[in-house]
């Protein structure tokens, strides 16, 4: 049998619980960053189809706009046994930019000596993963490199 005292005490506890949960939820919502934009894959113009390497590695550049700034980034276009793909020059260890050594036919990171072969696989050094392959497409005779950017506001 519920007494009046039990009923009132239960009511007060429920009200306090509701208030505390409401405040906690509002607080979490307030703290969660606003204005997060969805990211999307953007293809950036890079080079003419005719200038693609017939064999080996070629360094190319592409431009894109981020936060109102024009940014130029590098990319390695590789033609390895007939397969053409784009490798990001960002070392998977700590994000330095790797260089291509033509004599050794390897990508070498100047920071900690990480080495990758022309397919991007790690040969030596600290990198935990192969070089990232960037999406690439050819359209109307131009080569485009795909990168993920925040969607325009």
């Amino acid at each position: 049998m519920t007494t009046r005292r039990d009923f009132l005490s239960g009511t007060v506890k429920s009200v306090i619980f509701a208030i505390v949960s409401g405040i906690s939820a509002a607080t979490a919502y307030f703290m969660y960053p606003a204005g997060l934009r969805t990211r999307q894959l953007v293809y950036c113009d890079c080079m003419d189809e005719d200038t693609l390497p017939r064999r080996g590695v070629k360094r190319a550049e592409y431009r894109f706009e981020l936060k109102g700034k024009e940014i130029t980034a590098g990319v390695f276009i590789v033609n390895h046994e007939g397969a053409v793909y784009a490798l990001s020059p960002v070392c998977t260890h700590l994000g330095c930019l790797v260089n291509y050594n033509r004599h050794k036919d390897e990508f070498i990171c100047p920071c900690h000596g990480g080495k990758y072969d022309t397919r991007g696989n790690v040969i030596a050094g600290p990198p935990p993963a192969p070089l990232t392959r960037l999406p690439m497409k050819v359209e109307n005779g131009r080569v485009y490199i795909g990168i993920v950017l925040p969607a325009a506001a």
Binding site: T27, Y29, F30
Partner: protein, 215 residues
């Protein structure tokens, strides 16, 4: 309460004394006017929480303060609400404190042995006014800038040391970035901590001395 509280109470032993305090008999003749101090304290708590939240987004810098206020108002989820609560609780805190003071005065509760409680209450009121004054500068718009320029220039009217006192308060010749950081520090750190200590003393004494006579 549940098992979690039992476990905590084994360590803290707070249940028995608090039960004694919360379920004590109140003296006869109390009215809702005796709730004004509690209402003021509730405003303080709302200010504390909403202020802690605002500090996550506010930037106390000459170049970014106003921008960050706009961001809180326009972009941050519920930012307008939290800032509005902070602003209105600040107004209500002063209203409740003055009403509470009036009630204490009318019921002659300032007399010995509670004279120190009256003094501590007055010091808290000074801290609240100081918080209001420092907080008013933080939006860093024309109104707050000139209000602070006029407000701090009053210190200069004190003979001899006045001008130096004004420079001391402003952290420079004029109201500027140094004033903003100074006021921010006082507003979010020094004054709230001082007030917390004063309020602890205020509540401890009223528990020991009782609302009317001894408890």
């Amino acid at each position: 309460m549940g098992k979690a509280f039992d476990w905590l109470d084994e360590k803290f032993h707070i249940r028995a004394p608090h039960k004694r305090f919360l379920q004590r008999r109140l003296p006869a003749g109390l009215s809702y006017f005796y709730c004004l101090g509690g209402a003021a304290f509730t405003s303080y708590l709302i200010l504390f929480i909403s202020g802690a939240l605002l500090s996550l987004y506010y930037v106390p810098s000459e170049t970014e303060a106003y921008e960050s206020i706009l961001k809180i108002q326009r972009e941050v989820h519920l930012g307008w609400l939290i800032r509005g609560m902070h602003k209105w609780s600040a107004t209500l805190l002063i209203v409740f404190m003055l009403c509470h003071m009036l009630r204490v005065f009318i019921s002659r509760a300032y007399k010995a042995p509670k004279e120190l409680n009256w003094i501590v209450g007055c010091l808290t009121l000074v801290m609240v006014f100081a918080s209001g004054f420092t907080g008013y500068l933080l939006p860093w718009d024309q109104k707050s800038y000139w209000a602070t320029t006029v407000g701090t220039s009053m210190a200069a009217t004190i003979p001899v040391a006045g001008r130096h006192l004004m420079y001391f308060i402003r952290g420079g010749m004029d109201v500027g970035g140094a004033t903003l950081i100074r006021f921010y520090s006082f507003h979010v750190l020094w004054l709230p901590v001082t007030m917390a200590a004063l309020l602890w003393a205020h509540f401890h004494m009223i528990k020991r001395q009782g609302i009317k006579g001894g408890l």
